[in-house]
Structures are given as C-alpha cells and as structure tokens.
Point group: C2
Chain length 479, copies 2
C-alpha cells in the first residue's frame, strides 16, 4: 500500500477533516518540553473506538506504525513521532465523552481523550472526588495518564493512575477491541490485562476508554506548611502523619531550601514561609514540608487533627515552625508555591531533571551521599530537590553552578550527572523513573538499570502482543 | 531423563527428606474441599529461592510440569496435581521467613510460604496493620494469596491482595529469578510484571517472596449489625456509610435471612440478631448487614461516627434495627456469626456455591431476577446468599429444596444451576469468579464467559512466558 493509499483509507475511516498531513503539525509533532521534534506521516483523529480499531488495521496493512497521543504533555518524549515521516500519530482528542457515572458503584467511565480536569469536574458535579491530580491536569488526558501510570500529589492516599482504574477498553495491535470496562472491584478470571496496558505507554495497544474509581468528597481539606531541620526529620514527620491522620493524609510534599529560594527570587509576589530569596542564608530551614489533610467530618475536626499532629511533631523535634492555612485561598497559595518550583527553575536556567524513587526509609542517606558525590565531581552545583516524599518520589534536579551558563553546563555534564544519579539510585534499590515513564528519553537507559530477567520478560510480552512492533515503537523497550 | 533420575536431581537440590514420593501424600494431593484427588510424581519442598529455581530447571530438563502449592486452602482445585503421576508439587511450606520490616517505608518483605496469620501478627508486633483477612488465614500462605489475588473482608477499604503488594520475587518458567522486591510506591520503568504474576495462579511462574504494604494500626475498630428491609436499601446504606465514614469503612458484609437462619439452627449457642432458626419466618428482616468502622482517633470517636451513620440510615428508612458491639468480644461474636455461614451450610447439606461479582448498583436487580429464574426452574430451592457487598461480591449459593437430599440435588442440577447463574452474571456485566480464581474447576467455563479477545491476549502471554506449558498446566487457560 502506498502512502497515498493509506491516507485515503484513513480519510475513509475518520473523515477528511481529521487526517492532517500538511501544514504546521508542531502541536502533535513536538513534545511539551521541546526535547524532540519529529515528522508524522499524518495525524489521525478518530471519533470512536471502532474508528481507532479501523485505523490500526489500516496502518497494519500499510506497514505503518502508530504513535498514540493524548494531551501531549508527557515528559519523556513518549507520544511524538520519530523523524522518519512514516509514523501515524493517533490523537484521542475527539474522544472525550463521559460514558457513564454510577454513583452506587462509585465509578465513572470515560473515553481516553477526556481531559483530566474535566473528569475531576464531572465527578465533583455528581458529588464525588476523582483524586488523580497533577500539574498538567488542564490539558493531559486520562488515556495518557493511564498509559504512563501518572502519579501526582495525592498518591500517598489514593495511589497512582493504575490504582484508580477498574477497567479498560483497548484496541489491540491486531485492531481488535478488548471490552474490559468492568466496574468490578473483584474479578479473578485470568491474567491482569488491565494493569499490563496501564503504564505500557501505548506499546502494547491503545487505551480507548476506562472505568475509574470515585471517592466520597471530603468534608474539608486543610493544608499545612512546616519547617523541618533535616530530611531524616521529614521522614519522621511522615510517619507521625500516617499514625495521626491515617487515611486523612492526602498530600506530603518535601521542598529543599534552594528550590524554594528560586520561587522567592523569581516570583517575589509569592510569600514563601520560612525561606527567603537569598542564595546564601545558612540560618534558614533546610527543608519545608507541605501536608494536606482531607477530613470526612468537618473543617473544625480537620484543624484539631492537624494541631494534634503538629504538637506531636514539635515535641519530637521534627518540626521547628509551622503554619496551617486559615482558608482555601491560603491553602491554594501554599500549593501554588510548591507548583511554582517548576517554572522558577525555568527562570533560573535549564537544569538536569530527574524523577526518581527510593524506599522512603533510605531517602535521607540517598540525598546525603548523592549530594556529596555531585559536589565532589562538579563543585558548585546547586540541588533543586523537591517531590512527593510520601511516595518516596523525588525530583532531584541539578542546576549549574551560579557562574556557569546553564546551556553550557547541560551540554558538558548532562550524561555524567545522569549516570552518577542513576548509579546512586540503583545502589539504593530505587527507580530511575518514578512517575514520568520511559518514553524514548530513557529507553536506552533501561538495560543498565533494570534487571535482565525483567527485560527478557518484558520483551517476551511485547513480542507476543505486538509481534510486528507497530505500536509506539522505540518507546520503553529496544526490540 | 527417567523419573528416578529426576527424583535424584530433586533430592540433590533440596535434600532427601524434602522429596516426598511415597506414603500418604493426601495433604498435598487432595484439595481442601475434597473435590479433586490427584497423584503426584513427588512433593518437593525447597528451602530457598535458589532451590526453587533449581527445581524448575530440573523439572524442565525432565519434561515434568510443576504445580506450586502454598497452604492448599484454595477453593477451585488450583494447587493439587492431576492424576497422571507426572506432575511435581512444589510446596513453599519451608519458605516462611520474614525477610525485613521497614517501618518508615511501611513495608514488610516475606517469603511465599509465610502463613497469612503470621504475617498479620508480625506486622502487629511492629506496630502496624496488614489488612488482608480471610477465613483460611490460619493456614493459607501469602504466596497463595497473591497467586489467587485473594480478597476477604477488608477489600472495601484496602483492596485485594494485588493492591497490597508492592514487589515480587518470582522464579520464571525457565528457572530464572526475577528480583522485583522493590518497596517502591512509584516505579514506571516498563510493563507491570508484578500484577501479571499476581492472580496468575502459578501458570506463569512461581512467586517466592513479596514486599507488602503496611498501614498504621487503627486506634479502634467497631462493629455494627443492622437489619435492612431490602437489597436496594442495603446498597443505599453502603453509600451512606461511604459518605459518613469515608476511609473508616473497612467492612460491609450482607447476609440473607435464610443464610442466617442456618447459623441459628445449627449453632444455637450463637445468638443471631433479628433472625431466628425458623425456616419460615416471613415477618423477619430479609437482610442483615455487618459493618466495620476503623478509626484513627479513639473508640469514643468511632462510636459517635457509627451512631451518626445509623441515625441517618434510620431517617432514610434503609435500616429498621441495629446494634453496635459494646466491646471487642461482642464484635468478635458478630463476625463469628458471619463466618459461621460456611459451616452452617455444610451442616445443612452440600449446596451449589458461587463466587460472583456484579457492579454494586446492579446487585439488587441481579438478585431479584436470578432468584426468580431459579425459583421458576427449580421450585423450592433455597438461596444462601451472603457476601462482601462493599465490593460487589456475593457468595450466591443454591441449597436443595427442603425435602430433597443434597447430594441428589447436586448430582442432578449442578450444571444447570451454574449455567443459569453464570448466564445471569454475564447479563449483568459481572464476573463468575470474584475472589477464588479459576483453577481447574472453572477453567472450562472461561471460554463461555470471558471475551474472546481477552482470552486470545491471555493465551499469547502464556505462550510467551511458559511456551512448554509446564507451570501449573490445566489451570486458568486451556492451552
């Protein structure tokens, strides 16, 4: 089949208007962080699962591979085409329907292209919480969230995207439709296909719809901000918070002083508790923690529990100062500081980003040792260290020394820094990709940091479900 | 390799005392419910993961297949050998070690043969809750729990065995060891191998150890027993309980009047609230619900929350009478009634058991329609209906009419009843095995009740990971 014959087939399936093969396709061909720019044979926008299946079959017949794409907000170059001009980008952006809400079953069934924020809003309208929450929620899609097993800020209580999913609808590499949209909480009739497609980054099939868990809306959500003297004591505070708040603990973020000083420096209108914009302020608290407490009873009750926790923490010496947000506006301001770290880094100049996880108990030692190693090899580097400590997930980013241009530093040291950090992660039994996935960015790193037996099993599965390697090739695994 | 050569190899690996090939092997060859009795080539009891791997390699070289076995408490004939005398039973009963407890990471790492109750006790000694709880916990093993993705009584809050597992160690069909014992809560470096082995019933590899989640011990656990006028209102009560208790709701069991009357009849020393032993007592409550509320604060607080819930439920008309246990002894008595249903059925005579799940919202209609169908086809049958309503899981058992001998009824009607119930389950988008698994008992039913696309994907995975079909053949899938 020629390229033109394939384009004709695709047009026949989804309509002329939804096969984009000319003009500026940057929105689909370039990743969000502008790390990769590819060239698609076409961007195809099916409107239904049946159309997705027909597109997959047409591509298979033409020997073209498929790159599924949701909101294209991923951070590992997993949803943009390579530069061959031979890959078809299959965008789910027209498949946004909420198919069903089942209040008594606590489930919502949505199509893959549904924007995460829309899903949250639809749930809330029905009186429920959909707890997945992350920075890009205004433009990422639930299909992408599931394909990358997205994490975010409430994992400590509700788990990753995987744990929130009860069922999937998937178009296989053969173009067949697996209708697994069960809303069942228990189903032991064979292998767990759902969790195999979740997190597979589109390399085994295309998620077209999902049934997700809903939770009762909490009666109140309170936010606190605490200064802690060391990472050891941040971990101790986490344990206290688990014991005191139980399932009420829905967020536990740690932020290093330098990361916060960048927010204070570049966004001076934001008032960062306990930290100033000064690059050198050795008397200041080295770490801050943002805690969120969701309460089924009332705001008053939530506040009393928080005060009890902080009292215990002061007594134990693991908190030196703390504020509890007085109202929702203050709580949003505190979260906004946390979320502004990403942009403050951009203002300061590019840095070398990591998305790692370590068993929580070993994080203090990991940070101490890895900081020291980096300081020894690259004197003057500045650590932008923050993340979801409740899940053992750090964004352990390395910023150039103060007088070195960021671009030069990256060019000269990115590989060296990555290797040093990843080797340290491996020594601490951690993961080199906690929540962002592998994509094409880290695919070549997996053989060095993943067990050969695991890789062999993964390759066997890929070979069984996508023997022609047409589903998002070049991502996750080298085949 | 001859049988004797294989036995010699096995003895060289695990020691003479742990290769059992003669004498009475009924404990390993017969399933707990005595539905199947096989004949093993030998029972092999390795003491370490390395020995498991060596046993798998020796069996592969000899062309013998392997039946992994934990506590042999399963209900679907999944862990006993067939009658060929050619299968090796690999028992994990010598692999019981707790390898590590990590309090700050909230994890415990145990070997597959660890008895569930020992795991619960070890966790409690360290100040934590391990929430998996089921009838056979005194003899089942965590390896079996994971291989069958066991459910039990606290799934409504903590999920099935799968949701409690963070990492696995597995011996593959090739006899290689996959060391995936990460205690990480976030790890997006490739396909979810963990969840593929969980629930695979030993057909893809042998789970040898696992890292499981721990939770803070609740400050108090309270139990209540409520009379509800209909299944619709039981579902309404569940919704109220979710909204009022939030994550405090850790148990929600429903029990039909006939099931409870059997307990009252056969165990008269147990006082069943709101139900008598009389076979006909039309004025009595048709359904009772057992609720458990786990509280992070105090017993007083738990009681206040429960009272608030029951007040709302009385107002809404979904509860007509209720008791809250005054103390732990009373709570245990209430749970004991629930757990005695199984034995009361045995006293009444064998019945036809089901382990089904249906979306919670559709359970009332399912029960009404299926009850009516059964009554029409088999006048006089008595429904022993009870289960974990919080998870949509019913043990929907069919007892012979009062004047028909149970064995005759089973012999004449078991297939007919299964087909009727399973067809109805399918019509309501349910599962024919909610928490017990497939084993060899339901393996031949899957093609009728599982989507062909799902079965094709499952077969492809089985073929990729165990191409010689040596791992627990005849279970889950016909290959």
């Amino acid at each position: 089949m020629t390229t033109n014959e394939l384009l004709d087939s695709l047009r026949a399936i989804v309509g002329d208007a939804h096969v984009l093969a000319e003009g500026d396709l940057a929105a689909w061909e370039q990743d969000w962080r502008r790390r990769a720019r590819g060239k698609a044979l076409a961007v195809v926008r099916p409107a239904s699962t049946e159309q997705v299946a027909a597109v997959v079959k047409a591509c298979a017949a033409a020997g073209a591979s498929i790159v599924p794409q949701g909101g294209n907000t991923g951070l590992v170059c997993g949803s943009t085409p390579d530069d061959s001009g031979r890959q078809v980008v299959l965008s789910t952006q027209r498949m946004r329907a909420v198919r069903a809400i089942d209040p008594a079953n606590l489930t919502i069934t949505v199509e893959a292209g549904c924007i995460l924020q829309s899903l949250q809003e639809e749930a809330e309208k029905a009186g429920f919480l959909f707890p997945l929450s992350l920075g890009s929620e205004g433009s990422c899609t639930i299909g992408g969230n599931l394909s990358t097993n997205a994490g975010g800020t409430q994992v400590v209580r509700y788990g990753n995207a995987r744990e929130l999913c009860l069922g999937l609808e998937v178009v296989t590499a053969e173009g067949e439709i697996w209708s697994g949209l069960t809303g069942l909480r228990k189903d032991n009739t064979g292998y767990d296909l759902r969790d195999l497609f979740v997190g597979a980054e589109g390399t085994l099939g295309i998620i077209t719809a999902a049934t997700m868990k809903l939770y009762p809306l909490p009666a109140a959500q309170l936010t606190a901000w605490a200064a802690v003297p060391s990472m050891e004591q941040a971990v101790e505070l986490l344990g206290l918070a688990h014991r005191t708040l139980g399932a009420g603990l829905t967020g536990f973020e740690v932020m290093g002083r330098f990361a916060l000083s960048l927010v204070a420096k570049h966004f001076p209108q934001q008032r960062v508790p306990f930290v100033s914009a000064a690059a050198e302020a050795p008397d200041e608290t080295p770490w801050c923690v943002l805690l969120e407490n969701s309460d089924d009873e009332s705001e008053e009750h939530a506040r009393a529990r928080f005060e009890q926790l902080l009292e215990r923490a002061f007594e134990a010496g693991c908190v030196t100062d703390a504020v509890i947000a007085e109202n929702l506006a203050q709580a949003r301001q505190l979260w906004h500081i946390r979320e502004s770290i990403t942009l403050a880094q951009v203002e300061e100049g590019l840095n070398i980003k990591h998305d790692i996880s370590i068993p929580v108990s070993r994080i203090p030692e990991f940070v101490r040792k890895t900081d020291a190693l980096l300081a020894e090899k690259l004197p003057g580097v500045r650590m932008v260290d923050f993340g979801h400590l409740g899940d053992g997930n750090l964004h352990y980013n390395v910023q150039a020394p103060v007088d070195v241009p960021a671009a030069d530093f990256l060019h000269a040291h990115e590989d060296e820094v990555n290797t040093l950090v990843y080797d340290s992660v491996r020594a601490f039994d951690g993961s080199i990709s906690a929540e962002h996935g592998v994509g094409s960015l880290k695919q070549h790193k997996l053989p060095d940091y993943k067990s050969p037996v695991a890789l062999k099993l993964m390759r066997a599965i890929k070979g069984a479900l996508d023997p022609q390697n047409r589903m998002n090739p070049g991502r996750v695994l080298e085949v």
